[in-house]
Amino acid sequence: MNPILHLNKVFDNRIRLGIMSALMVNDEINFNDLKELLQITDGNLASHIKGLEDSGYIIVLKGFIGRKTNTTYKATDDGQRAFKQHLAALEQMINSTK
């Protein structure tokens, strides 16, 4: 089977890929940490988060630290599965051309 078919369009973007990578190894991450990690603007990050949220790969958790709002993001089971599949496809493609 052609592994290209397993590559996920949603992850065909460095920022969305970065957000998902970080959420695979952390339970939750907040907006500012993601921003620092990816070195991008608020608006840019927000739009990619929206994209991942619409695909059902991440969920948004709104909370408070003291009085300040603290929004964190978490990968859903669907998102984790999709990411693993994408990763496996990438690895397979590299191995098959070696």
């Binding site: 990578s21 970080a22 991450i29 940490d33 620092e36 990690l37 990438l90 590299i94």
Partner: protein, 220 residues
């Protein structure tokens, strides 16, 4: 290798990097290790002199006074702080903390990872818990006059703290932890030579570790 391949490998590298950067504090500088090690050696030198000059009385004072005061139930922090060796130890600790912070702070400017972000907080907590418990344990040892176990105790608790913390920072920290543990354990069979082991661990090992890390990651 074709373009597609390069793109995919680049993508995998990006994934790995994002996973590491989001879960580990990578700004820890090798120079911090060298600085802390140097402070430890200077501290050990002064401690050695204090012991020789007082003909061992400092150690005995630490031993007797505190033991007696603890029997009287009057053991207090000021008893402890009045001892010359304890003062040297406290100064050494603060100097190494400040100097190692400076280099890591400077490094954080190049890596673009803030010194007080979620990765550094996680590292700090995981390092602090074993150290804090060790600290209480060691104060109790001093209180009961078991001075010979202080140096091995420092090394063992510090080693455990490093191994625990290594999950949240550069993975090489784990080997520094194992080395400190090994020194601490060996020291248990050479009670009375504690200062030498202490200097080798907190001074020597820190400098060697720092140098290796600096050569590996930071030298341009």
């Amino acid at each position: 290798m074709n373009n597609e391949d390069v793109k995919q490998q680049e993508e995998l590298r990006h994934i790995k990097q994002m996973m590491e950067r989001s879960s580990r504090f990578i700004s820890l500088s090798g120079l911090s290790g060298i600085a802390a090690g140097t402070c430890a050696l200077v501290g050990a030198y002064f401690a050695r002199h204090a012991i020789i000059k007082s003909d061992g009385a400092v150690l005995q004072n630490l031993d007797n006074d505190l033991y007696i005061s603890s029997l009287n139930g009057s053991f207090s922090l000021s008893d402890l702080l009045n001892n010359k060796l304890v003062q040297i130890a406290a100064l050494t600790f603060m100097a190494s903390l400040v100097s190692s912070f400076v280099f890591t702070f400077l490094r954080s400017k190049t890596t673009n990872v803030s010194v007080w972000g979620s990765t550094s907080k996680r590292l700090f907590i995981n390092l602090s818990v074993p150290l804090f418990v060790g600290g209480i344990f060691l104060v109790k040892l001093i209180q009961f006059g078991i001075v010979g176990l202080i140096a091995p105790g420092c090394l063992i608790f510090y080693g455990l703290a490093l191994i625990n913390a290594s999950k949240y920072t550069l993975k090489e920290v784990r080997y520094l932890g194992y080395s400190q543990l090994l020194l601490g354990i060996i020291n248990l069979w050479f009670i009375g030579k504690g200062l030498w082991f202490w200097a080798a661990g907190f001074g020597g090992l820190h400098i060697i570790y720092g140098l290796i890390m600096w050569l590996k990651y930071e030298r341009q």
